[in-house]
Structure formats: structure tokens, C-alpha cells
Symmetry: D2
Amino acid sequence: MSPFRVDLNADVGESFGTYVLGQDPALMPSITSANVACGFHAGDPSVMRETVGLAARHGVAVGAHPGFPDLSGFGRRPMTLSAREVEDIVAYQVGALAGIAAACGLRLQHVKAHGALYNMAASDRQLADAIARALVAVDRSLVMVGLSGSALIAAGRDAGLATASEVFADRAYRADGTLVPRHLPGAVLGEEATVTARAVRMVRERAVTAEDGAIVALDVDTICVHGDTPGAAALARGVRAALEQAGVVVKAMR
Amino acid sequence: MSPFRVDLNADVGESFGTYVLGQDPALMPSITSANVACGFHAGDPSVMRETVGLAARHGVAVGAHPGFPDLSGFGRRPMTLSAREVEDIVAYQVGALAGIAAACGLRLQHVKAHGALYNMAASDRQLADAIARALVAVDRSLVMVGLSGSALIAAGRDAGLATASEVFADRAYRADGTLVPRHLPGAVLGEEATVTARAVRMVRERAVTAEDGAIVALDVDTICVHGDTPGAAALARGVRAALEQAGVVVKAMR
Amino acid sequence: MSPFRVDLNADVGESFGTYVLGQDPALMPSITSANVACGFHAGDPSVMRETVGLAARHGVAVGAHPGFPDLSGFGRRPMTLSAREVEDIVAYQVGALAGIAAACGLRLQHVKAHGALYNMAASDRQLADAIARALVAVDRSLVMVGLSGSALIAAGRDAGLATASEVFADRAYRADGTLVPRHLPGAVLGEEATVTARAVRMVRERAVTAEDGAIVALDVDTICVHGDTPGAAALARGVRAALEQAGVVVKAMR
Amino acid sequence: MSPFRVDLNADVGESFGTYVLGQDPALMPSITSANVACGFHAGDPSVMRETVGLAARHGVAVGAHPGFPDLSGFGRRPMTLSAREVEDIVAYQVGALAGIAAACGLRLQHVKAHGALYNMAASDRQLADAIARALVAVDRSLVMVGLSGSALIAAGRDAGLATASEVFADRAYRADGTLVPRHLPGAVLGEEATVTARAVRMVRERAVTAEDGAIVALDVDTICVHGDTPGAAALARGVRAALEQAGVVVKAMR
């Protein structure tokens, strides 16, 4: 049996009302965990139900993807909420998706914060703790997903939650283990061969080469696959195939 | 032991952000079931958490009070949603409150639709069935609350749910068992003696006198107490005292 | 000089935040009036500004396309608002777009209600009057666009506004001049030859053949061209070319 | 004739749907300029219309009070919007209120940003410039209101706008002319005698004593009067009376 194992996750269910976003049906066959938007930054109750149903049909584990209450900014704009407000909006969104999932006969596997909330909580321990408290409160069996090495993982562990350390095969890293911000040149890697090679190396060697050439050690439980670019579904397929060819078992995080 | 028993319910948690509505703290000692707004027509995650905590401290059972997505109209404006959309928004809102309640160590007891959704589903069996399906899907132990004799009760029963037939001691009835619409003169009764006498009679005789003098038979599991008028808390206290003095056990519906 | 003249209008600016809808850039060269969504059922301030700028660059006249406050339902779900509420939401949305348009050096030409608001006001004179009052209040030089022969046109005229009677070349008509509802078979005509021939006949003969073969007389100031289907831009080009070839001057309504 | 003159402004129209906030009718007789919320952080089209009508009946000049799109946070939570987004949301909100005001036969006098947007733009010149651009674009006769000595005033002047420097008689100042943040002890002064004395001194001496005893020079065109505390209306009356008794002409800013 292979000693290497990883989960592939993607953000899905980001359509809203009449607005269609992403390519969920094409992505589902390649992933093992789906982060479903919960209606604050994207998604609505009917989109959520359809997305959970789609995941169920593909045997993909379902998790909540809570974000800031900012539909017009897609949850990508930093907002200053108190820790208490963050705890409450996360509990609300996780509960809402759990209700929808129950209607499909599913339990939630994990929670991964979205966009600005994810980024801010990766380095702000108070926000990370607020998110962890919400998970403990709603269902302590939920896996808390966060950037490898970040405050999110530390907060989850200290709260007694199972955690999943996330890495990004298509993003450039800095020597300190943080991601190069999206708006900088070279932040996003597009070439399939590069991305798949990085994914395999991340899993097998628990490391990535930073932009300055430094070797960064990583915890790697799950790899994020993006779904919002034209070639996204093909890239996800390529990453999964490369991982399996390299002897890695691709399996839901729990 | 008294053969008479009834629940007293009220709509609570209707504040939003900086906006305060109702007088929940004054009302809680008099009621046995709290219908908590879920963020669509009123309420927000932090208000929901505070409201559930308040109910817990008073030993009041907690239920969801889902409404149309219409904050500016407080969920009182009829909207034309498909049965599927109604099922989804109810599952979402019930799940969201269940998540918040879990954070307070509570399980939900019941679901009562709000405003225009309640009124429309009282006479529209397709909407009532959609609500019942949402309850079955999320948690089949939830009690479905609806107007006594309405499609809501029929839908709940046919779906295998426990139901609670609701009556209004401060509202005028028509001979067919429906309420006189709010905007008509005489629709709302304000005098405490009248309201408390009606409440006692409703529970002990399972009947109410309609505006034309007809006697209307009622199923009476729960009496709705309003919280949004100046004297509301005092009236609720009066109704509860009158019921207990008449030998009625006032107790949560389950 | 040709005695025949008509305006071609389309609904544009229906994107929202990160969500893209329609094909405005491809549509603009074919139309003479743009109905810009105003943020209630679709559109946001930045989308509005970009859309007005795009229209300006194509010499297309700009109008407001106000709808119900229902982003998740795209303004297509009937809602029960009071006449006063309708007047206020229309004044608000028209003013908002006028502000954005002023920033681009433009004045608004017209107002056309959207979706359920348009359909309801076409047959509900009180709603139509409320819309007309909003136009008079904000700017009495605005042209009120409405379904040919509907309450919208009558209300606009009685309020002293210029009106533009709208027809739909790609929709089936009933003998009473109303449209066959979208969900019925045959309601939407897709074949380009059919649609262009109807458009030309509508303008030259002021008539359309209803589904039962009856000839329906029409006032025809503007033809609505849809932008939300894959072949929409091509169809709009075809309609315009056919009109011009038939000697019709295609020109903004004012 | 008195050489001293000042405007008294207050934030009004902050109710929303069924939610009532503030005490506008009691406040109106004491103020000369009303900052009307525009639907993003508070207010809705019907509340705006009622508020403008109320101001008109009291002869109070009307201005827009645009805020972040954050109803649940009342626009008090910092959000990271681009300068372009800020320009667009300000143009939208100013236009919307101008439309509503036109319906009441009024033109807008001024624009004062709300809450977090005001505070952030007071020290962030890029945001202040974005607001100024929106005013120039929509109507260059609008007066730009901002904290005395702040980037808002500089931006307004550089954009060629009339400006009004605002001071707060009931807030503690720092030696650098900024306000002591609300959450710090002593930030808000409540005693009427203190507040009225400060108001008079601010206007007559163009100065205020900071918390450390330093004398801070101020430009003083308008004094902000708060309307959201129990004694607010009485305090406003007191401030106005004290000013007039001290020979100050209290008059709208333009």
C-alpha cells in the first residue's frame, strides 16, 4: 500500500440565482472534497442543494465554504468584523449547509473559510480561533481546513479539531510559507506540467520551492484545485492523473 | 392532573444589526416556545445567537421562523417562489438556526413559517408541502407549526411530522376558521380582558366565536402571543396567568 | 425620406460583482437604446458605470431598467409592493443611474421597468401610475417605455410623459395583444428568418399575427431585442439589417 | 451683523423597512443640514422619501450620506474597496437620493460620507479623491463635507468643490486634530453644558482643547449633532440655543 495520500479540494457552488459561475460538473470527477459556498459571498439555497446533490452523485465529500457577507465583492474584500461576529457568521453558514446536506442524506466533512476571511484568519489568530470555536460549537467532528503552517491549523488543533493542511500547486510560495499575493507577477502558475509536477512533489516530499529558490517544508493533507478559469477542469484532471501515476492515493480528507 | 394543556409561542429575534425590534427579554418569562427569525426577513447570525441564549436561560424551547428573502419588507410581502425554492430557503434557514442553537447546546423543537410565507402556505397546499419536505429532510423530529385547520397542518401530518395547531387569541376569526386580515377594522383585539378570556376559552372549549357570531371549532396546541406592540409583554403575562388560573398547564409543545 | 422608423432596445448591464451575464459588447452595435439594470434585480454601481460608458462609446441612448428588490430571483418573481413603494424604488433606481450617467456626461433618455414589475404594471393601472409618477417626479423629460397597448402606455400618457410602445419580434402574441407567457410552448420564436420578418412587418404594417391567426394592431415605437441567449447578438444584427434593408430608419426613441 | 456663522448637521433617515432608528422629527427643528442615508448602510427608498419630505417641511437643507454596502454592520466596519468602487458607490447613492429629492422638489446641497468610509477617507487621500470625483461627476455644485483638516477637505478643494469643514462638539480631540476613537474612555462627551460651551468656542475661536490640554486650531463650517442617543434632540436644541445666544448665525452651509 502506498505511503502517500492526499485529498483534492475545490471551491464549488459559487453560482447565484440566475448567475452561473464555475464549471462544477466538469470538476467533480477529479476532486475528493467540495467546498460549497453558503450564500454570504456566493451561492444560494437552491444552488447549494444542487451542488450537494452533484457532489453526492460523484462520491465527493462535502464541506462548508463560509465567507464574509459581501456578495458584490465575492467575499474577497477584507472586512473588519469582531471575532464574535466571525464566529456567528461561520456557525450560521455551516449550519445552513448542514441543513441542506441533511436533505440530501449527507453530513458535512469539513469547513474551509473563503477568500478574505481565509487569508485574514491565516495570519490572525483571533479570527482563526473564532472560526475554530464555530466548528466546535456546531459539530466537533468537522475537519478544519487551512493554509499549511498557518494560524488556521494551529487554532484548529488547539481547539481539539481534526485539521487538514492545504497547499496550492498552482500558486507561487514565499520563503516563509505564505503565498505570493495574486496581483503580483508570477503569483499564479498556469502551465499544466509545472503544476502537476509541483503537486506530486508537494505530496511526496512535503516541500515546495519558493520564488527565491528556498525549499519550504509543508504539511500536505489537501491540494486546492481552482475551478474558475477556462482550463480549470482539465488541469484538475491532469493533477489527479499525475498524482495517481506517482503512486499517491487520492482520497477524501477523512 | 389537568386535562388542559397549551403552549405559548412568540416571534422573537427580529432585530438586525444595529436595529432593535421587539421586547424579547420582557416576553421570554411568559412564553414556552420561541420562534427565532433566521436572517431572511429579520435577524442576523449574532442576533440569533443572543436570542437562542436568552431562550435557553429562560427554559424556553427554540424553533425556526423562516421567511421570504425580503428584509426591506420584513417578509410580509407576498412573493411568488416555486415550491422547490421554498423548500430550499426553509431547509437553509432551519439549518442555519440549528447550527447556531447547537453552539448553545440546544436542539430545535419546531418550525413556524413567518409572515407572507405562513399566510400563503396556510391555504396553498403545494407551499405547505414544500415546507413539510424541508423539515423532513433536515430533521424529521421537528414539530411543524401552522394555523389550526390549515394546509400547513395537513401537509405536516401527511409528511409524518408532529404538528402543532396554532390559534390567535388577539385576532378576529371568520366563520371558516381563517383570520380577519390585519388591515380590516376589528381584526386585532387589544383589550386584555377580551384576549385572555378568548385564550382560556380556546383551550378549554376548543372553539372561538367568529365575527359573525358563528362558533368555530379549533385544534389548539399553541397560542401565538405578539411581541411587537407596546403592551405586548404585559398582555403575554396576562394570558399566561389567566390560563394557569383556569387550570391549564402551560408547557412547550413537545 | 422613409416614413418608417423604429428604435431597437435591449436589456444590458445585468452582470453583478464577479458574475457576468449577457453579451453587451456584442449587442451594442445593433441597438439604439440600452436599458441598464440599476442594482435591485441585477447590476451594481461599477457594472452600471461600465455599461453606460460602453453605450456612450457606441452612441446608444441610455435608460433605466428598474426592477423589484430581488437579486436572487433576478426581478422575475412577482412581489406585492404598495404603489407607494413602487414609486419610491423606481425613483431611487432612476436617480441612481442618472447619477452614474452624469458621471459619463450623459442624460437618461427613458425608463423601462424590468421583469415581474413590467409584466404586473402592464395590466395593473395602479402600479403603472406609480411608475409614471416616479418619472414625472425625477425628470419629466424621460420617455416611459411599455408594452404596446398596455396600462404602462396609458399611465405614461395620462401623466404627460412621452411614451414608447414596445413590441417583441421574437415572442408569440395572443389575440388581445398580450404576450404568450414564456413557459408555454411556442412562446419564444428562435428562427432568425421568422423573427426578422415579424420585426419588419410590425414596423411597416403596425400589426402582428397572433397564435390563433388573428391580426393584432400594434403601436410600434421600439422593438425589444434579447441579449441573454447564445445567438442573441447575431439575431439583433439580423433584425437591424432586415429593418434597414426594408427602408426602416433605426434610431433612438427620442 | 454677526461675523460668526455655522451650520448644524445631523445624520437622519437611518430607519430601514420596519426598523425605526433615530428621532428625526424631534431633531429637525434644531438642525440646518440633514445627511440622509442612501440605502447601503441604512435607509431605503421609502424612508429616504419620507426623510427628505420631513426636511423640506422644516426648511432643512438636504445632503447625501453614502456609506459602505454593509447593512448588517451599519457601515461602521472598515471594508477594503478600490478607489474606483468607492467612486461608483458614492455616485450611485448620491444619484439615488437626488432622484428622491427631485420628487420632493429639492436639489441636494452636500455630501457627507458615513461611518467607516468617512473615517477611512479622512486619512486616506486616495479614497477622499474618489469621493470628490464622484461629486464632480454627478453635480459639481455639491458641497463636500469632511472632518476639519482632513484629506476629505483637501480632496474636495483640489477637485474644485466647495467644502464644509466639520467639527464635533461632543467628541474628544487629539492634539493632531483627529478624534479620540469612540471605544476609548472619554471619547464621547455627554454633559450638555460641556458640549454647548465647546460648540460656542469652536465657532467663535476656531479652536478646541485636546485631551492633553493642547489648543487645536479648527476650520469650522458645520457642527455635527448626533441623533441616535436618548437625549440627542434635547442636546441639539441646547447647542443651537447656546450658539444663537452667543451671537452665532445658525444657517445651512450654502
